[in-house]
Symmetry: C2
Subunit: 347 residues, 2 copies
């Protein structure tokens, strides 16, 4: 052991906060060992923070990108600035639909205003998106806890709390709500290689929430599910296709298979902003393949040959048929299908 | 990156070698960065090396324990020494049946000899076990390559080569044989957390064998199988129950589920010494739960809070119905069942 960090739980988790013309973001690559805030003042700063995963989580990167565009317009509200900043932010990561959607929404609002007003209009739109996502988080927590009321031991994957989405998050918001209601006994959190969002971030958040938890390596999850170590699995989503196929953090599909085999609920939680009705099925979702160094190293320390070739897909696709329910702020789609997602859309 | 190790491939992999009254063992916890040989001269030395995974792999720990008992008898051939050393070695790890079986076989041979001859008798028995396992490795390689002749891209899990079993190993021996036959294009190796036997050892062996390969994190495997990135999965086994249920490195069960869903072969390779006909089903196999520090840290570097609670099962159990075939030195059981394993026993 090279460090002896004990996680302290004496403050709420604040992933993003606007401070004048600066977006302050907790650098999630340094958690849990170092609670360092980045000071971002341009669209390029924000795009870079999203790319390198200092800011992550599908709903959170949408909000951050909205603020990034507003900050850029505060410096230069020209058409050229608006278009180049929008493109930069939109392309920071390819898989989560929230990112492109938030950027488009803030950009559309700004385009409709005269240059002098664009920064203020964009800022108001970004704030509106954040407020909507916060409200969505609370609604997801309620709907999910209603659905999973009986579950005492729950497994989750990657990080889906206040570090991943405005408010209390998505799947972790459901877990927090179950804990508030008094029924939850324990959470099993997967470490979520390559970047260890489970070991670093979910464990950090569960500590803040005072929820009993244990950490497992990703490959232990399926066997523990088969051994009935948990009553349900709940996790987030980066993009949901119109037919209900779910793109989410790599490893999600394997957990879905294990839940199906064990006959326990496999529940996905996310705001409807994550549903991409323009993408027909999971096969149409672009899966980001990240660089090999994330696989070759763990927390900066090499674990294989420096020239070892790697595959590093950031996401996988889980067929809708394996998803017991999709919990959104508008209610629960169960079973998950084009019909049930369509019904949520018009709700 | 803290190191820039490039793996060099200018010598064969020698996991164990007897040098007079010393058993020299490549310390597998330090690979691939440091090719350091441990010098073991007592049963306690060998038991400790097995416990801490300096020596690992079900067939290899059996052979090492056999030599450990012979070394101990070389120092003290009394009944008390024989019994205490046998117990120590037998209990070094609980899951692989080869360990207990090899120790019992060497101990039984020694018990039948007068004290003055015990060391020599034990050494001869340990050498016989090693020679049998080497021959088994070659036969497994042939049978497995015959079975998987069409597979151009193969995934494997954990480490099953010359570092895990005498000779060329088990599943990795099949892969090496396919490469020798000229049909193999690429191997995808899982990193195999917590101890990274894939990233550290399989990549090291594949480099020595000059077989093209890529490394993936464990949780990426299921999605890559679903995307048909490989034609088959082959891996080893730590214990096979009489009904064909397979206990193997944690993560094996998830790969089996993914292969079943994708309709590609999921093949297990191991010597018949790994089949435990006295254990009826996988539910009866003791699953070793190792300490939390393996999860909390990667290669000695903490990745979560130092006091984070963890579950750390070293193995999981894959039902026989998910195993396409079990490749042994006596032939292939396909499908895997009590009947097909029984037929191998009498072959």
């Amino acid at each position: 052991m090279t460090a002896t960090t004990r996680l302290r739980h004496n403050h709420p988790v604040v992933a993003l906060r606007l401070d004048g013309a600066t977006l302050r973001a907790l650098d999630q690559t340094r958690l849990p060992f170092d609670e360092h805030e980045l000071a971002l003042s341009t669209a390029a700063d924000v795009a870079e923070a999203i790319k390198c995963l200092s800011i992550r989580g599908a709903p959170l990167i949408g909000v951050a990108a909205g603020y990034g565009l507003a900050l850029e317009l505060h410096k230069d509200s020209s058409d050229a600035s608006l278009e180049s900043a929008s493109t930069l932010l939109r392309e920071a990561r390819p898989t989560a639909v929230n990112l492109a959607r938030a950027v488009d929404r803030v950009a559309d609002a700004a385009r409709s205003a005269p240059p002098a007003d664009r920064a203020a209009v964009a800022l108001a739109e970004a704030r509106a998106i954040e407020a909507e996502e916060e409200a969505a988080s609370d609604a997801i927590a309620r709907h999910g806890a209603d659905l999973l009321g009986d579950a005492r031991r729950i497994m989750t994957h990657c990080n889906t709390g206040a570090l991943a989405a405005p408010g209390r998050g998505t799947a972790l918001a459901v877990i927090a709500e179950l804990a508030d209601r008094g029924s939850l006994e324990e959470v099993l959190a997967t470490e979520s290689r390559p970047l260890l969002q489970g070991a670093r971030l979910t464990v950090y958040e569960l500590g803040h929430l005072n929820i009993p938890h244990q950490l497992v390596v990703d490959s232990a999850a399926a066997g523990l599910i088969a051994a009935h170590a948990v009553d349900a699995v709940i996790l987030g989503c980066d993009r949901v296709a119109a037919n209900g196929d779910v793109a989410n953090k790599v490893g999600t599909y394997g957990l879905a298979l294990a839940c199906g085999a064990a006959g326990i609920p496999f529940v996905v939680a996310g705001p409807t902003s994550t549903v991409d009705y323009d993408t027909q099925t999971g096969a149409d979702i672009a899966i980001e393949e990240r660089g090999p160094d994330e696989v070759r190293a763990v927390a900066g320390h090499l674990v294989t040959g420096v020239d070892t070739r790697c595959r590093n897909p950031a996401f996988d696709v889980t067929p809708a048929a394996l998803v017991t329910a999709l919990v959104t702020e508008r209610g629960v789609a169960k079973p998950v299908s084009e019909a049930s997602l369509g019904a949520l859309r018009t709700k």
